[in-house]
């Protein structure tokens, strides 16, 4: 295994919400090509942790340090897929591409997530799983070095889970740092970060 300089360093990160400590003194560093699985019970603060890491949530103690500028390298898929129901799959994906400066062929990406033939259907008429697949199609576009994915496996069928699993491993092998929340473990080498009542421990 090649040792690389870390891309992300988190030091003594604590977050309190509604008078409840979500996690306390969380410290870890993550580098390129690593897969980090964040686990924990419902309400343990997994989503909040990811939102802190991508800079959406500002109420925390401690330090989050990205060693390279985050915004141009980030691919973030939140808890909600970010898909507008009035727009078709292709329109949604094209807009994400314009917004995030991510090149690549949208139709090929939609085909890769199994939405071939659904490109022009308004997302409102698709199922929850298909809507999530529209968002996940961004993983098949041009390379982004940091993936932060909140519950990417939710509402995805067995075949889709296998394909996504393979895609995450492929991306990590190509040097992408993948941080995701889910109970699904990707590969043998994924590192686990468990958030729990007893305090977080990597």
């Amino acid at each position: 295994m090649i040792i690389t300089a870390p891309r992300l360093t988190v030091r003594r990160l604590s977050c309190e919400r509604d008078d409840r400590m979500l996690f306390r003194d969380l410290s870890f560093s993550a580098g390129d090509g690593e897969i980090w699985q964040i686990t924990g019970a419902n309400g343990a603060g997994k989503t909040t942790l990811l939102r802190i890491l991508v800079g959406l949530h500002g109420f925390y103690d401690g330090e989050v340090l990205w060693h390279q500028p985050l915004a141009p390298s980030l691919l973030y898929l939140g808890h909600q897929p970010g898909v507008r129901e009035e727009l078709s799959a292709r329109e949604n994906l094209r807009y994400s591409q314009a917004l995030c400066g991510q090149g690549g062929d949208p139709d090929a990406a939609l085909e890769a997530v199994g939405l071939y033939g659904f490109e022009d259907v308004p997302a409102g008429r698709l199922s929850a799983g298909q809507k999530r697949r529209i968002a996940l199609a961004r993983l098949w576009l041009d390379h982004k070095p940091v993936w932060v994915l909140d519950e990417p496996f939710t509402a995805i069928d067995q075949d889709g889970v296998a394909r996504l699993d393979a895609r995450l491993r492929e991306a990590a092998a190509a040097g992408t740092l993948v941080l995701y929340t889910s109970h699904h473990q990707v590969g043998e080498n994924a590192r686990r970060l468990h958030l729990g009542a007893a305090g977080a421990r990597p």
């Binding site: 949530h57 909600q80 507008r84 917004l99």
Partner: protein, 223 residues
């Protein structure tokens, strides 16, 4: 950057176009409220002409404010707002595109409808162009200022009342000068000065407003 602007503007126009109820509702509100005045007050032409500037402007102001409550809501619920805030694009660009699209499909129709309602309210024909220009200059300010309130209240479940409380005081100068311009024209006095004030308020709103909206959205996403 221009690619983002074009893509964002196209997206916002498409979104409003595919949900035409959001577009028609403010216009419908505007027409109905103004049409109720002759029924409720009295059909006397002199009286209607007296209240017309205020009635039309109040109706336009409320129509814009009501249309803004949901401006960012669906983007927030769908997660599209988080996508925008984590993207490498300066959020002012998509925000400005959204405001422009919203004004084009709600504010502009109000301005085009205003002379017709003015005619119905017995305003002299010579005043109708001033009425339209005043609404044309005033509604973008109302949209931008209201969007600041909408951005700050987007995370709250029932932001409607709070939005009104936040935004209405800021709407008052536009209302005073907007209705004032029309009244001045009715009196046969020159209106250039008052229109210039409306234009100055618009310039201020356009230059600082989108930045404030973008910051408001970031604050709302924070918790």
């Amino acid at each position: 950057m221009s690619g983002v602007w074009g893509a964002a503007l196209r997206r916002e126009l498409t979104l409003i176009w595919r949900a035409p109820a959001d577009m028609v509702q403010p216009l419908f509100f505007f027409v109905v409220v103004v049409s109720l005045f002759p029924l409720g007050l009295s059909p006397k032409p002199a009286l209607l002409a007296l209240v017309a500037p205020g009635a039309i402007w109040v109706a336009a102001l409320l129509a814009v404010m009501l249309s803004l409550d949901g401006l960012f809501r669906r983007d927030q619920e769908s997660g599209a707002l988080d996508q925008m805030l984590t993207s490498p694009v300066v959020s002012v660009v998509p925000v400005a595109a959204k405001l422009l699209a919203h004004w084009l499909l709600t504010g502009l129709p109000l301005a085009l409808m205003a002379p017709l309602l003015g005619y119905m309210m017995q305003l002299p024909v010579a005043v109708l162009d001033t009425l339209m220009i005043s609404v044309l200059l005033g509604t973008p300010t109302l949209t931008v200022v209201g969007a600041i309130g909408a951005a700050l209240t987007v995370g709250l479940n029932r932001g409607g009342i709070l939005l009104a409380v936040l935004v209405l005081p800021l709407y008052i100068p536009v209302l005073v000068f907007g209705a004032g311009v029309v009244r001045t024209a009715q009196d046969g006095l020159p209106t250039d000065g008052l229109l210039a004030v409306l234009g100055a308020i618009l310039a201020l709103a356009l230059s600082l407003g989108p930045v404030a909206v973008a910051l408001g959205l970031r604050i709302s996403a924070g918790d």
